[in-house]
C-alpha cells in the first residue's frame, strides 16, 4: 500500500484549559483532495497551523512520506514542501506578483525577475492559472491575489497544499476556476487539504472528508459514499442537553420588524440580502449561521452603526404605541426617539467597552450625557458598577480596575450588566457566551431569560446550536447573508438548522423549509 504524503496521528493541542484539538488523526495521499469540515471553533485552523509550523502540537506525531517530521517553524514546513494558503492574504500591495512570489526566498546568484516571471508563467500554464507576473497586487481582484498566493507556494516547490477557506471570498465562477486548478494539481500528484464549511463544495471537489467537532476528530469518509445529511450530522453532533430553563413567551407583541434589508460592504458586495423578520416582546429570537454570514452587520444595522442600502427597520414603541423607522438614523437619534435598544456587541473590548477605563467609566459610556452640566456625574455610574459587581459576582479588585484586566467572563458580565441596567425594550447580544466558562455562561443565559420574562424582545446571536435550541423560542437561520429559514426552537433539530446554515441559495432554502411544513414558526 502506498505511503500517505502526510499523516497526522493523535495530534493534541491545548491553549490554557481550552482543548483546540484532541487526538486528531488523518492522512492524505499524493493526488488526493481531503476536505476538512467543521463548524467555527472546531479546531480546523489550529490543526492546519500545526502542519504549517505556526503552532507546535502538545502531543501526537506528524508523518511526511511515512517518516516522522518535526515542524517547529514555517521554515521547517517549507523544507517538508508544505505550503499553506491563508484566508487572509499575506502580500505586499505595491509589489508585483512576481516580486511577491520570490519575496523571502534565498536564491544563489543575482536576482533575475525575468527568470522568475518565466517560471511563474510555466507554473501557470501547467495548472491553468491566469496571471500577469508584472501586475501589482493593489491592482488585482481578490481571486487574482489568491492565485498569487497559490503560485507562491507552488514556486517554492510545495507538494502538500493547505487552503484555508479559499472559496469564502470568491464568486461562484471564480470558485469553479479554482476547483479546475485544484483538480489539475491533484492530477500532478499534489496532496491537497481544503478547509471549508460549504457542504456542496465538499461534495464537488474532495475525495475524502475529515470531520472535526469541538476539537474532536469525528471521522473520515469517502466523499463518493456520503451525502449532505450524513455530513451535517457528523458536523453538528447529537443533541446535548443543557437544562437551560425556558419559559413560554407571554404577551407576545411585535417589537422590531426588519423588512427586505440589504447591506453592502465596502467592496460593494452584498453581505445581507433581502433579510426580513420580526422580533417579538417576551421571546428570545436566536440567530444561527456560520460566522461571517452577515450576523454582525444585521445587528449593527439595527443599532444604527451600518449604512443600509435598502429595506426598513420598524420599531413599535410599547409606551406610546407609535412606530418609528430606524433606517438611516445614528445611534444617538435612535436613543432620542425613545427607543430603548441595548446591544452587547461581539467585540467586547473593541466596541462594547473601553479596556483602559475602569468599571465606573465604562458604566458612564451609556449615561454620561445625562444632565445639563458640562461635567461628568460619576455618582450614579459608581453605584451601578458596585451593584453589578455584587449581583453578577464580578471578580475584580475594585470598581476602579481597568476592565482589560478582568477575565473574559467578568468583562462580559460588566457589559451585559450595563446593557440590561438601561431597562431595554430590545436587547441584542452577539455571541455573549463566547470564551466563557460554564458558570459564567449560565449567568448570562439566566440574565437573558429574566429579560425575556420581563417583556423584552431579546435577539441572541449564537454559534452553539445546543444552546440556541434550548435557550431560544425561535431561531432565524442565516446563510451567506440570506435568511434560509426561521424555525421553532422547541421542535427543531440540530441537523435541520445545520443544513439551513450551509444553504446559500434562496430557492433551495425555500424548498427546504416548504418540505418541512413551511415557515411554521413564522406563521404561528
Amino acid at each position: 500500500m502506498a505511503v500517505p504524503a502526510i499523516e497526522l496521528k493523535n495530534i493534541t493541542k491545548t491553549f490554557g484549559h481550552i482543548v483546540a484539538n484532541h487526538k486528531v488523526s488523518l492522512s492524505v495521499m499524493k493526488g488526493e483532495i481531503l476536505a476538512l469540515l467543521g463548524e467555527n471553533g472546531s479546531g480546523k485552523t489550529t490543526l492546519m497551523n500545526m502542519i504549517s509550523g505556526i503552532y507546535y502540537p502538545d502531543s501526537g506525531e506528524i508523518l511526511i512520506d511515512g517518516e516522522e517530521a518535526v515542524i517547529a517553524s514555517p521554515k521547517d514546513a517549507f523544507d517538508y514542501r508544505i505550503g499553506m494558503i491563508h484566508q487572509h492574504f499575506k502580500l505586499v500591495d505595491i509589489f508585483t506578483a512576481a516580486e511577491n512570489i520570490v519575496l523571502g526566498l534565498k536564491e544563489e546568484g543575482p536576482f533575475d525577475l525575468e527568470k522568475v516571471s518565466a517560471r511563474v508563467r510555466e507554473i501557470s500554464e501547467q495548472f491553468g492559472f491566469e496571471i500577469d507576473p508584472k501586475k501589482k497586487i493593489y491592482e488585482m481582484s481578490v481571486s487574482e491575489k489568491q492565485t498569487v498566493e497559490i503560485i507562491k507556494v507552488l514556486y517554492r516547490g510545495a507538494d502538500i497544499l493547505i487552503l484555508d477557506e479559499p472559496t469564502a471570498v470568491l464568486t461562484p465562477q471564480e470558485t469553479q476556476k479554482l476547483f479546475a486548478v485544484l483538480r489539475r494539481m491533484k492530477d500532478a500528484g499534489k496532496a491537497i487539504i481544503i478547509i471549508t464549511h460549504k457542504l456542496h463544495e465538499v461534495l464537488e471537489i474532495s475525495d475524502k472528508v475529515a470531520v472535526l467537532r469541538k476539537g474532536e476528530y469525528i471521522g473520515t469518509l469517502v466523499t463518493a459514499e456520503t451525502n449532505e445529511t450524513e455530513l451535517t450530522e457528523m458536523m453538528v453532533g447529537k443533541k446535548i442537553s443543557l437544562n437551560i430553563d425556558r419559559s413560554e413567551p407571554k404577551n407576545r407583541q411585535e417589537r422590531l420588524v426588519v423588512k427586505d434589508l440589504d447591506i453592502m460592504n465596502r467592496d460593494g458586495i452584498k453581505v445581507l440580502d433581502d433579510v426580513s423578520f420580526t422580533a417579538y416582546s417576551g421571546e428570545i429570537l436566536g440567530i444561527a449561521g456560520i460566522a461571517g454570514s452577515g450576523q454582525r452587520e444585521l445587528l449593527e444595522a439595527i443599532a444604527g452603526l451600518q449604512n443600509i442600502s435598502e429595506g426598513d427597520i420598524f420599531y413599535h414603541d410599547p409606551r406610546t404605541g407609535k412606530t418609528e423607522d430606524l433606517k438611516d438614523k445614528t445611534p444617538l437619534q435612535i436613543r432620542e426617539l425613545g427607543v430603548r435598544l441595548s446591544f452587547v456587541p461581539e467585540d467586547r473590548l473593541g466596541m462594547g467597552l473601553v479596556g483602559n477605563m475602569d468599571i465606573v467609566d465604562n458604566m458612564l459610556l451609556r449615561s454620561y450625557r445625562k444632565g445639563h452640566s458640562v461635567f461628568l456625574q460619576r455618582g450614579e455610574p459608581r453605584s451601578l458598577a458596585e451593584r453589578i459587581i455584587k449581583q453578577l459576582e464580578v471578580v475584580t479588585p475594585s470598581a476602579a480596575t481597568p476592565v482589560r484586566r478582568l477575565s473574559g467572563g467578568n468583562v462580559q458580565k460588566v457589559l451585559v450588566g450595563r446593557e440590561i441596567a438601561a431597562a431595554p425594550t430590545v436587547l441584542m447580544a452577539a455571541y455573549p457566551v463566547r470564551g466563557l466558562d460554564i458558570n459564567s455562561s449560565y449567568t448570562i443565559y439566566n440574565l437573558l431569560n429574566a429579560q425575556k420574562e420581563s417583556g423584552v424582545a431579546v435577539i441572541f446571536v449564537g454559534e452553539d446550536l445546543d444552546v440556541l435550541i434550548e435557550l431560544c423560542d425561535r431561531i432565524l437561520v442565516i446563510g451567506s447573508g440570506q435568511v434560509t429559514g426561521i424555525v421553532d426552537a422547541r421542535t427543531a433539530t440540530k441537523e435541520e438548522i445545520g443544513l439551513l446554515m450551509v444553504k446559500s441559495h434562496k430557492a433551495a432554502a425555500a424548498k427546504e423549509t416548504e418540505s418541512r411544513g413551511g415557515n411554521h414558526a413564522e406563521n404561528r
Binding site: Y56, D58, V70, G304, D347, V354, G355, M357, R369, L376
Partner: protein, 368 residues
C-alpha cells in the same frame, strides 16, 4: 514528548508585562534612573574634560536658579513650553498626533504681531491686546483646523499634514517680515518700544508674571476639562476606540474637529503670550523648537497636565543648565547636549522597567 523538550526551549531572558506598579516603587525606580544618569554623566565629564563633576553640576543648577532674573527666565520658559504642551495634549489623548504646534504657535504670534504692526498706537492698549488675542486664537484654530477637517472627512494622516503646516507657517512669517521690513536689517524690531502699547502688563512687578499666571490657571483648567468634563470623556473614548465611540453615539468627526480646534487655540494663545508678553516682535524662531519639545513633555507626563508642570521644568532646567555649563567652563555646547541626552535616555528608559519585568531562565530548569 522528548521532542518538545528538544525544540521548545525557554529563552535565556524573556520579558513579561507587569501589573500596574504601585506609586512608591515606581517613583523609586525613576529616582534611581536620575541618579544613575547623573553618575554616568559625571564619569563622562571627568573622562572627557577632566573637570570636577560636582562643579559642573553646581554650574548646571546655577543656570536656572542663581538670581531672581534667572528664576523668572526659568519660569517664563517653563510656562511657554508647558503652554504648548497643554495645546497638544487634548489632541494626543484622542490619538491625534498633532506635530504642528510649532506652526500653530508661529501663526498665533504672527497674527498678534500683524495687529500690533498695523495698529501701532492708534488704539488703547486693552483693546489692542484683546484684538491681538482673538486674532492669535483664530490663526491657531485655522492652522490646526485644516488638518483636522481633512482627517475627519477624508482620513488623511494628521502627523504628516500638521508637520508640513509648520513649514508653511515658517515661510509665512519670513514673507511678512520681508513685507514689513523691505530694506535694511530684514529684522522686525521690537514693536511699540516707546509706548509699550499692546504689551502685556507686569504682574508681581515682573514682566513675565502674567504669562506664568495665565499658564498656571490654564494647566488646572485643562486638567479638569480632560478628567471631569463630558468633552474630556468623549476625547478619551474616541482615543481609545472609535468603534466604541460610534457604538455609544458619539459624533466622532465632531469630536475630532472640536478637540483639534481647542488644541490649535491653545497653541495660538502660546503664540500670543510669546509675542505680547515676552518678545514683542515676531521671528521664525519665536517658538524656538518648543512645538516639538512639547511633544516630549506631554508624552513624558503621560498626557496628564499636572505632571506636565514637572516634565516641562525638567526639560527647561536641562536646557538652561547645559547652556550655563558651556559658558562657565568654555566647553563646546556638545558636551552639555550629551548630558541632556543621557539624562533623558535614562528617564525615558526607566519606564520600561516600570512596565515590564525581565525574567531570567532559572538554572535548575536548564540542568534538567
Amino acid at each position: 514528548m522528548q521532542k518538545t523538550d528538544k525544540t521548545v526551549r525557554e529563552p535565556l531572558v524573556h520579558i513579561t508585562k507587569r501589573p500596574d506598579m504601585p506609586l512608591f516603587p515606581a517613583l523609586l525606580i525613576r529616582l534611581c534612573a536620575i541618579l544613575l544618569a547623573l553618575i554616568i554623566c559625571a564619569l563622562i565629564i571627568f573622562w572627557l574634560t577632566g573637570l570636577n563633576p560636582l562643579a559642573v553640576y553646581k554650574a548646571m543648577f546655577e543656570g536656572s536658579f542663581s538670581s531672581t532674573r534667572k528664576i523668572w527666565n526659568f519660569l517664563q520658559n517653563t510656562a511657554m513650553l508647558l503652554c504648548i504642551a497643554l495645546a497638544v495634549t487634548p489632541a494626543f489623548r484622542m490619538r491625534f498626533w498633532n506635530l504642528g504646534a510649532e506652526g500653530q504657535v508661529l501663526v498665533g504670534g504672527l497674527a498678534s504681531a500683524a495687529v500690533m504692526f498695523y495698529v501701532r498706537d492708534s488704539w488703547p492698549s486693552w483693546l489692542l491686546i484683546l484684538v491681538m488675542l482673538i486674532s492669535a486664537l483664530a490663526a491657531g484654530i485655522v492652522w490646526a483646523g485644516v488638518p483636522a477637517l481633512f482627517k475627519a472627512n477624508f482620513g488623511t494622516n494628521e502627523t504628516l499634514f500638521t508637520l508640513m503646516m509648520n513649514y508653511v507657517a515658517i515661510q509665512l512669517v519670513t514673507f511678512f517680515i520681508a513685507v514689513w521690513v523691505p530694506t535694511g536689517s530684514g529684522v522686525l524690531g521690537v514693536l511699540n518700544q516707546q509706548s509699550q502699547n499692546g504689551w502685556l502688563p507686569a504682574v508681581f512687578n515682573q514682566r513675565y508674571g502674567l504669562n506664568v499666571l495665565i499658564v498656571g490657571i490654564l494647566t488646572v483648567v485643562m486638567f479638569i476639562y480632560l478628567r471631569y468634563s463630558k468633552h474630556g470623556y468623549e476625547i478619551s473614548v474616541v482615543g481609545e476606540s472609535e468603534n466604541t465611540a460610534r457604538y455609544i453615539g458619539v459624533n466622532v468627526k465632531g469630536v475630532i474637529i472640536r478637540t483639534v480646534v481647542l488644541s490649535g487655540a491653545v497653541a495660538g494663545l502660546a503664540g500670543f503670550l510669546l509675542m505680547a508678553g515676552a518678545a514683542h516682535t515676531v521671528t521664525a524662531e519665536l517658538a524656538g523648537g518648543n512645538g516639538f519639545t512639547a511633544v516630549l513633555v506631554s508624552w513624558l507626563a503621560k498626557f496628564n497636565p499636572l505632571t506636565m508642570i514637572l516634565t516641562s521644568m525638567l526639560i527647561v532646567f536641562l536646557q538652561k543648565g547645559s547652556g550655563e555649563i558651556a559658558q562657565a567652563f568654555r566647553l563646546s555646547s556638545n558636551i552639555s547636549e550629551i548630558m541632556t541626552g543621557i539624562i533623558l535616555f535614562f528617564i525615558i528608559g526607566c519606564e520600561f522597567f516600570i512596565r515590564y519585568r525581565i525574567n531570567f531562565r532559572k538554572k535548575a530548569e536548564e540542568e534538567k
